[in-house]
Amino acid sequence: MTILVVAEHENGAVAPATLNTVAAAAKIGGDIHVLVAGQNVGGVAESAAKIAGVAKVLVADNAAYAHALPENVAPLLVELAKGYSHVLAPATTNGKNILPRVAALLDVDQISEIISVESADTFKRPIYAGNAIATVQSSAAVKVITVRTTGFDAVAAEGGSAAVEAVAAAHDAGKSAFVGEELAKSDRPELTAAKIVVSGGRGMGNGDNFKHLYALADKLGAAVGASRAAVDAGFVPNDMQVGQTGKIVAPQLYIAVGISGAIQHLAGMKDSKVIVAINKDEEAPIFQVADYGLVADLFEAVPELEKLV
C-alpha cells in the first residue's frame, strides 16, 4: 500500500493541516508520498521532505496549479492516483474543493472528514453536525478521503529526509481563472491550530466589544473565534466562524463568551478538551457541554478574567 497525501500550503510553507493528514496516513500504514502542487513551490517541497514518516515528495510546479483551481489540480491527482491505494487531503477548503472532483473522476465515493482510522478500508466520521458517528467501509480501488485535522495529532515537521521528485504533468482545463483574494490579516495563532480559543457570540453586542476578547486572547496566546450570530451581525469576518459550517476546532481550552450553544456551533468545538462558558443566561444550552460555567455579565467577567490570568 502506498498513500498519497495532498499537501496544504500557504505563503511558501507547509500548512500545519498537512502534518495531521500525514498522521492519519501513518495510521493506515504503508509508504507515504506527499504531493505539493502549485507555482514556485520548491521551498514547500523541501520542507515537506523533512516531515517525519514521508517516503517521497512529488512536486508539480506549474502556473496552472497556482491558487489550487480544482479544474486543473483534479486531473493531475487522477493521473497520479492510479498508483496509490489511498489519496488523502486535509478537510480544508482546498481539500474539500478538490477531492470530491477527483473521486468522481475515478468513479469512487469519497469519505469526508474522517476522525479515526479503524483499518485500511474502514474509517469513522461524524454526521448530523457531530450528533452521530458513522463507521464507513470503502471497497474502492483507490480510497479518496479528507481528514478532519483535529482528529489526529500532528506528526513532527522535522526529522524526515524524503526524496523530492518533479512531476512533469501540466493540466490546464482553461475553464476557470483566479481573479483575486481578500485575506483576513491576523497576528494571533491560526484558529484551527490554536491551543486556546476564545469565541464571542451575539452577546458581545457589537464588533467593537470584541476588543475585550482580543485583549484576553493576547494574554493567553489564544486565537479568537465567533459564532454564526456574531458573523451574521457583522461583528467579525466569516473566517472566524466556528461550527458545522465554519471551522472545526479542538483546542485544549475553548472559552465561549456570550454564545448560547446551538447544535451547529457545538459541532465545531465540542471536542475541545476543556470548555468554559461565560453567559448571563443560566439556561443557555452551552452550559450542558461546559466543564466550567460562569453565569455572569461578560462585560464584567471578561476584563476581570483578563486581569487574573
Binding site: 472532483r101 452521530a132 470503502s138 475553464k175 466550567y292 478574567l305
Partner: protein
C-alpha cells in the same frame, strides 16, 4: 439562461437527532423534515438571478423519496418554474446523486447549476464538486457572491483565510455558502400557486443511472458524552480551576 437547482429533503436543522438502539442509523421516524438550509440559499439565488433578468427559467430537482415532493413544492412556491423528482427510496451516497443530477443536466442543458455546499445530515460536501467532475464544468464552491457576466460567472468563495474570487466559463456549477443570501419565506398565495406548477417524476432506471456505491456504513453510534461540568461562582474561582484542576492555562 436556464438555471437548475438541486434540493435535498433532510431532518430539520433544529432537531436534535437520536441514534437508533441497534446502531443501524439515526431515528428519523416522526421527525420534522425540511429543505436543507444550504439548498434554500441555492433556490433564493436562482430566484434573484431571475428577478435581475439573468435567468429565464428555474428548474428545481430533488433525488429522494416520494415525500421529497414537499420540498420541491416549497421551491416552486419560492419562485422556481418547474420541478423534477428522481424517485429513489434508499439513502444515497453523493456520487449516485451526482450521477443522477448529471443525467438531468444532460437532458435540461442548464447554463448554471446551483447546489448547497453540504447537506446537514450526511455533512459530506461532495455532490456539487462531483457533478462538476462528471459534466466537465468548472466549479465555484462555497460561494458568497455570484455575478454572471456574459459567458462567464464570477464567484466569490469563502476560503479558510478569507475570500477568493474566481471567473468560471459557463456552463458552471456553483455551491452556496451561508452568507450568499438570506432566503425568503413562501407566501400563502405562492404556496397555492405552486400546487399548479409542473412536477415531473422519473426513476433512476429511466435516466440510465446506477446508484451503486463503493461506501458502506457499518454502524452509527452516538458520540462520546462529555462528563457533566460544574458552575463556578466567580472569575477568581474559574481562573483557579483552570490553573490547578484543568491545568490548561
Amino acid at each position: 439562461m436556464k438555471v437548475l437547482v438541486a434540493v435535498k429533503r433532510v431532518v430539520d436543522y433544529n432537531v436534535k437527532v437520536r441514534v437508533k438502539a441497534d446502531n443501524s442509523g439515526v431515528d428519523l421516524a416522526n421527525v420534522k423534515m425540511s429543505m436543507n438550509p444550504f439548498c434554500e440559499i441555492a433556490v433564493e439565488e436562482a430566484v434573484r438571478l431571475k428577478e435581475k433578468g439573468v435567468a429565464s427559467e428555474i428548474v428545481v430537482v430533488a433525488i429522494g423519496p416520494t415525500a421529497a415532493q414537499e420540498q420541491l413544492r416549497t421551491a416552486l412556491a419560492l419562485g422556481a418554474d418547474r420541478a423534477i423528482l428522481v424517485e429513489a427510496a434508499d439513502e444515497l451516497n453523493s456520487l449516485a446523486v451526482a450521477k443522477a443530477l448529471k443525467a438531468v443536466v444532460d437532458k435540461e442543458q442548464p447554463q448554471l447549476v446551483i447546489l448547497g455546499k453540504q447537506a446537514i445530515d450526511s455533512d459530506n460536501n461532495q455532490t456539487g464538486q462531483m457533478l462538476a467532475a462528471l459534466t466537465g464544468y468548472a466549479q465555484g464552491t462555497f460561494a458568497s457572491k455570484v455575478e454572471v457576466a456574459g459567458d462567464k460567472v464570477n464567484v466569490t468563495r469563502e476560503i479558510d483565510g478569507g475570500l477568493q474570487t474566481v471567473a468560471l466559463s459557463l456552463p458552471a456549477i456553483v455551491t452556496t455558502d451561508l452568507r450568499l443570501n438570506e432566503p425568503r419565506y413562501a407566501s400563502l398565495p405562492n404556496i397555492m400557486k405552486a400546487k399548479k406548477k409542473p412536477l415531473e417524476t422519473v426513476t433512476p432506471d429511466a435516466l440510465g443511472v446506477s446508484l451503486a456505491s463503493t461506501n458502506k456504513t457499518l454502524k452509527v453510534e452516538a458520540p462520546a458524552a462529555r462528563s457533566a461540568g460544574i458552575k463556578v461562582k466567580s472569575v477568581a474561582e474559574l481562573v483557579e480551576k483552570l490553573k490547578n484542576e484543568a491545568k490548561v492555562i
